[in-house]
Amino acid sequence: MAQMQMGAEGMQSLPALLQRNAAQFADAPAYREKEFGIWQCWTWAEAAKEIEALALGLINLGVNEGDFVAIIGRNRPYLYWSMVAAQAVGAVPVPLYQDAVAEEMAYVLGHCGARFVIVGDQEQADKVIEIQDQLHQFEHMIYLDPRGMRKYDHTQLHEFSHIQDQGRAARDELTGELQARQAKLTYDSTCVMLYTSGTTGKPKGVVLSNRNVIQSAKNSAEFDHLTLGENILSYLPMAWVGDFIFSIGQAYWCGFCVNCPESADTMMTDLREIGPTYFFAPPRVFEGQLTNVMIRMEDAGALKRKMFHHFLAHAKKVGGDILDGKPVGLMDRLKYALGNVLVYGPLKDTLGYGRIRVGYTAGEAIGPEIFDFYRSLGINLKQLYGQTEATVFITVQPDGEVRADTVGVPAPEVEIKIGDNGEIYYRSPGTFVEYFNNPDSTASTKDPEGWVATGDAGFFEEGSGHLRIIDRAKDVGKMADGAMFAPKYVENKLKFYPDILEAVLFGNGKDRCVAFINIDLTAVGNWAERNNIAYASYQELAGHPQVLESLREHVTAVNQSVAEDPMLSGCQIHRFVVLHKELDADDGEMTRTRKVRRRIVEEKFDDIITALYDGSEQVSTVTEVTYEDGRKGSISATLTIVDADVKPAAVHKVAAE
């Protein structure tokens, strides 16, 4: 009877969804993984059996309700099953970033007090073994790939398949227990705990309930009309909330197939073979692919190259409009159709985007040219804005209303308000339950009414109602004349140029803005090679007059575009300097996820900033650097300061009110 009553409302946990899928979509593919050169496939019925065996095995091993089970490894079906199996036995899955070093893992594992750890291979197992003395609650580790593990002491160590075998063997005794535990799961039970990467301070454990995950998955799936027939490629870190929603939340809600690549290195090949219909990637993946295409076209024959550029120019003109369903002339449509046969179609196939219906990019700002390139080919690439605490979705771009410079309208059931300082607040069914064991942080992030502060500043664009993100709220300041200072906004515009790797803008409380720029050694080095410019070091290339001149042109162009924005026209760059070293995480100038630590950069290069403001033409400086092995050294350099053209901003004073 209970089974019969399960309508959409009855689907209150992932194990419940799994049961539904195993019954309704029994023969539909649920998971694929390329192994030994062949795509291995599991149907929903098979996946349910595997997960059941694992869940029984976990009970057999002594996993109790409320225990934390850490999961560490690359995207593999087995590890996705582990998350669902952990939930089925009433435990809480905690996926960890597989590239975390042992100390970082020690903090997270200690913080949640994980009794059980499931790892992908020997590399991860070694890290856990290295820190297990610090982990008082740690009891058992389960590993997936037995390679190299044979000699290890197996008192606390178990092979994944053995746990499943034990589960199957104990099926008769333990099934009752498993069913009883599953029956207890409600919409408010914890579904998963995800640690935020921690750009500021220690990582925090974000507790997400079944309601958060399933409701968000349901709403977003309906928003994009996702169906049973979708295929996705799961290659982004399992510890990241996005992967959890796409590869588990939406996959279980819709019943679509999750495909895991063979290894990190084969991702591009696997992408082409699978041809996903629904795809997610950070901007760098799209950038990398575009660069590859362009470089390879340079080597193509003259006819092909001409055809490529001719049709690409046409796509740029009308492709986006066709995708958005706007009126386009018949001749242009015919030409686009021809281009599709000759260029766009084959190109999309090569990239693995031949079947894409919906594609998303998020995490960082994407360059408008890159964004438009993919859209002009007919790939429905969109942007969304979200965070772990919101179970991803805050705003999304609806089909037909896609632009490079906004992040879309509020996602279904999400309310948004903008604070006095421009900070964005949201409230939604996806709003997280709490930070684990951290009531202070929970209270300071989420108010009693359920509004969550994002820490980002932004505004709704008049007319379209789309949200535009300006910067991190704490980085947004005021200039001496009261105009808004939003460094990231300008830096992103600079970073869209391929030869600029990183940029840092200063000007908070000052009368004008100045900037540091890091060149991209690959792009600039390539350019130098083609133009026969010899250089001996990064430092020499960074200071080359021709490099400075081309950067000055970029800065001028950016100033032009900034000047057009009435709110931010004060952020134009008056003077800039090209740094003699790359900003580096080893020197503490960046986080490990490559985000600039503004304060540290400001303190460290204080002398250069002073020179930028006092009008001197050159500055000599000595900088301490840390090598990869931890040794320290210093480099000295004399940097040329470049003046840039500043554009007039007519409406400046009005907007500054």
């Binding site: 030994f36 050169g37 390679r147 190299g148 000699k151 290894s263 290195d265 084969t266």
Partner: protein
């Protein structure tokens, strides 16, 4: 057949069995040049046996004697206790001996997969005609062999270059492909001629890892020649040291490291 009275278990839990191959008083001459002079040593089942020595010591010649490519003028090679007759290379391979080369010897124009598949030739029985038609038996045979090869590709983590022509690969990866091809023959005794020559530190670490894993997972006996003393001492169970065609040391890495003759050969001696 094996004399198991010598077998023991290493510190890291591997079982070293009896003698697989024994060199008895080997002398090898090329005309008037004596490359190897009266050398005797053995290789036991499951061990990693290194042959080291300065340039021109006769290491590669020794490996070629082991592989049966050179036939020594004096002395005998006992394989599983029996004196080994002169053999053609494919006969050596059928006995379960595979090797890699100091200067990579792959088919440059072929893909990694095809190169590794050539290592399975001894296991392919169907004739040219049926392979060309690719029907029935030939198809089944290729599928079976491909599976073995795919497991090796997975083991050595070269999935991403499966379809890449070998000529496009960097040096370190070529070395790994060569190891894959040797492993495809499922050898009992694997001979590695300077597996780490010309590699950077990271590549050396990877290769060391793979050699240890091969030995550990498949129980393959490995004889290797290597220049890099540090690598040899970390990897091997026993080491033979050669100098000017003579054996000047034989034993565990620790024993060899403290052997005065070895120190002299490597560091040189003053003549006063």
């Amino acid at each position: 057949m094996l004399d198991n009275s010598l077998s023991y278990v290493t510190e890291d839990g591997r079982t070293i069995g009896g003698v697989v191959m024994e060199m008895k008083n080997i002398t090898l001459r090329f005309g008037g040049v004596v490359a190897i002079k009266d050398i005797s040593f053995d290789i036991r089942e499951g061990e990693i046996r290194a042959i080291i020595g300065p340039n021109g010591a006769g290491k590669s010649s020794m490996l070629n004697v082991i592989s049966g490519f050179y036939v020594p003028q004096e002395g005998e090679v006992l394989f599983h206790g029996k004196k080994r007759p002169q053999m053609r290379p494919y006969e050596v391979a059928r006995q379960g001996i595979a090797r890699t080369f100091q200067n990579i010897a792959l088919f440059e124009g072929m893909s990694v997969l095809d190169n590794v598949m050539t290592g399975r030739l001894n296991y392919m029985k169907t004739g040219l005609f049926s392979q060309a038609l690719w029907k029935g038996k030939a198809e089944k045979e290729e599928t079976e062999n491909r599976e073995v090869v795919e497991r090796i590709i997975d083991f050595l983590e070269i999935q991403h270059i499966r379809k890449t022509p070998v000529s496009r690969l960097p040096y370190g990866l070529k070395k790994r492909v060569e190891l894959a091809r040797a492993l495809a023959a499922e050898p009992k005794l694997l001979l590695l001629d300077e597996p780490m020559a010309g590699m950077n530190v990271e590549e050396k670490e990877d290769m060391s890892r793979f050699i240890l894993d091969v030995n550990d997972e498949f129980g393959t006996t490995i004889a290797l020649i290597e220049h890099d003393m540090g690598v040899v001492m970390d990897l091997s169970d026993r080491v033979v040291v050669m100098d000017y065609g003579k054996k000047i040391g034989d034993g565990t890495p620790d024993e060899v490291r403290n052997n005065q003759d070895v120190i002299d050969a490597y560091l040189g001696v003053s003549h006063d």
